[in-house]
């Protein structure tokens, strides 16, 4: 299928959420740049990254919002959840507190995204086996109970990082194919690029008029 001047036919919006320091930015960086940052400062607000992937022969552009885990950003970062097609929920397998906070992150994600949003649980820092504080089995059970996809990964070695992002996209694509994700619904988090792009407005936000606008 041709997609005009675009070299992809879908856009999926992702968010990455979870406690500070669990490795969200490192996962994003590993996925987009295939590099690990050993000394990564806390994210200020949100970071953004993109990468084009292929699912079932379709080119898909992922637009990924990596949110800051620090508490003082939390109220505003919530406004990025809306219209996410995929949510990567991350904890650190060497810090139990980050695992204990999952239900709070999950309820935020459920409340602020749509019912079809694919939520993928990632136990990060799997390279630090000696410091493990949360077993695979325990997290797997949590994931099953809450109907989440689950994988343990390492942003450091790159282990399973691709899988987490790609599996999420596959699941979203599957939801589109079987009709459970309605592309026309507002905030589906998916844009299908039309053949004649540029003249329409494939945006997340509506375009309401506003008083006090600088016209």
């Amino acid at each position: 299928m041709s997609a005009g001047p675009y070299n992809y036919s879908y856009i999926f919006k992702y968010i990455i959420i979870g406690d500070m320091g669990v490795g969200k930015s490192c996962l994003l960086h590993q996925f987009t740049e295939k590099k690990f940052m050993a000394d990564c400062p806390h994210t200020i607000g949100v970071e953004f990254g993109t990468r084009i992937i292929e699912v079932a022969g379709q080119k898909i552009k992922l637009q990924i919002w990596d949110t800051a885990g620090q508490e003082r950003f939390r109220a505003v970062t919530r406004s990025y959840y809306r219209g996410a097609a995929g949510a990567l929920l991350v904890y650190d397998i060497t810090r139990r507190s980050t695992y204990n906070h999952l239900s709070s992150w999950l309820s935020d994600a459920r409340n602020l995204t749509n019912p079809n949003t694919v939520i993928f649980l990632i136990g990060n820092k799997s390279d630090l086996e000696a410091q493990r504080d949360v077993t695979y089995e325990e997290a797997k059970q949590f994931a099953d109970e809450n109907e989440l996809l689950f994988i343990e990964a390492s942003a450091k070695t790159g282990d399973n990082v691709e899988d987490a992002f790609l599996e999420t996209a596959k699941k979203i694509y599957q939801n589109i194919q079987d009709g459970s994700l309605d592309l026309n619904a507002a905030e589906s988090g998916v844009q299908h690029k039309p053949l004649q792009p540029g003249r329409n407005q494939p945006q997340n936000q509506p375009n309401p008029t506003k008083e006090g606008c600088a016209c």
Binding site: P5, Y6, I11, S25, H29, M37, D39, C40, P41, T43, I44, G45, V46, E47, F48, T50, Q63, R72, A75, V76, S79, R82, P197, G198, P202, Q203, N204, Q205, P206, P208, K210, G212, C213, A214
Partner: protein, 181 residues
Amino acid sequence: MTSAVFPLTVYVLVFITIVFAILLERETDGGKMEDVLDESVSEEDLRKFERRYHDSLAQGTVTHVIQFEYAWCLIRSKYPTDVKRGIFLLEDLSKGENESGKRDCIYYLAIGNAKIKEYSKALGYTKVLLQVEPGNRQVQTLKHTIEKRMEREGLKGMAIIGGAALALGSLIGLGVALARK
């Protein structure tokens, strides 16, 4: 004979101008979300944080957090007046904040200034941040984004001037053609 040639060149020039403008337009709004500067806050969220700020202002209970959250949403607005107000609130905050709070403010001051095309100011803020944390990739990325934006705007400015010159040329051509009649 010349009177027939002139309108033809006029048409060709106008056509080239239009094609050029469309190509540039596509380049600027084609991919839509390419970086943090393309994103904007929803009306609903902006209203929510605005109400919270004004309520606490009325009660005299404005905290740094409440002001920062409102300012951050204003910076994300697509309306320049909002962005300018956000910049004003952040400048106010950055005077009194602690170190990490200052860093947040300066980062969003860079974004806000870039959004209202105050590029040199915006770059100045990223340089301040990089002096403290030279290896901060998030800030480096923002700096790069702003520089790219400047380049693109420069190109667009040239195209507009070029287009105007062509249009003027066409008019003169038309005038000459008419005078010949």
